[in-house]
Symmetry: C2
Subunit: 92 residues, 2 copies
DNA sequence: GGGCCTTATCGTATTTTCACGAAATACGAT
DNA sequence: ATCGTATTTCGTGAAAATACGATAAGGCCC
C-alpha cells in the first residue's frame, strides 16, 4: 500500500491531539475564534509553563498559530490544517 | 464549556493513532477487512512483539478487535468506534 | 532607563512510550 | 504427549512526554 506519507501525517496530527489539554485548547480556540495565551492558561488547571509547552506542540503540528499582539500573543486555530485532519480521518 | 468528557474521548482515540505504525495497521485492516496478526507483522518493519504491543493499544482504544481463530488471531477494525472518532473530529 | 506584564525557554524530576529479545501461552497436528 | 506455529506477555533499556518552578526575553508605560 505504502501510504506511509499519509500515515505519518495523520499520526503526527493525532499525536498533537493525543492529550486532553491540547484538545481542550483547540476546542476553546475554535469557540472563541481567537484569544490570548493568558486566557488559555486561566482555563486549564495547569501551570503556565506547561500550557506554553502544549501550545508549542499544537503550533508545531500546525493546528494553531500565534501572532504577537503588543505585549501578548494571540492564538487562533488553523482551520485549513484542521480540515486536513478531518479529511485524513474521514478518508480512513 | 466542560466538554471534558469529549476531550478525553477524543484525546485517547487520537493518542491511539498517534503513531505511524498504528495508523498503518488500522488502514490495512480497513482495506483487507480482516487479517491475522502475522500478516500485519510481515507488513511492518518491526519485531513481532512490538507489533503485538501496538495491536494491544489499538485494542484498548477500541479501534480494533481480535478474535481467536484456531491457532491464530484474526483482527478486524471496529467500524463503530472509527465512526465515533470521525464524528468527534468532524464536530471540532 | 526601570518596573511591569505576558509568554517562552531552561533545568529537572517523574512517568510513559517504544522497541527488542526471551519466555510463556495457546492451539493444531502428528 | 510432543512438536511446531502463532501471539502475547515479561523484562529491560533508551528515548520522549508531562509537569513544574525558576529564569529569561519581549514589549508597554511611567
Amino acid at each position: 500500500m505504502s501510504q506511509d506519507r499519509n500515515d505519518d501525517a495523520l499520526a503526527s496530527l493525532c499525536k498533537a491531539l493525543g492529550h486532553p489539554a491540547r484538545v481542550a485548547i483547540l476546542r476553546h480556540l475554535l469557540q472563541v475564534d481567537r484569544c490570548i495565551c493568558g486566557e488559555i492558561v486561566s482555563i486549564l488547571p495547569l501551570a503556565q509553563s506547561t500550557v506554553s509547552q502544549h501550545l508549542k506542540q499544537l503550533k508545531e503540528a500546525g493546528l494553531i498559530r500565534g501572532e504577537i499582539e503588543g505585549p501578548r500573543i494571540c492564538y487562533c486555530a488553523d482551520k485549513e490544517r484542521l480540515a486536513e485532519l478531518k479529511n485524513l480521518v474521514t478518508a480512513l
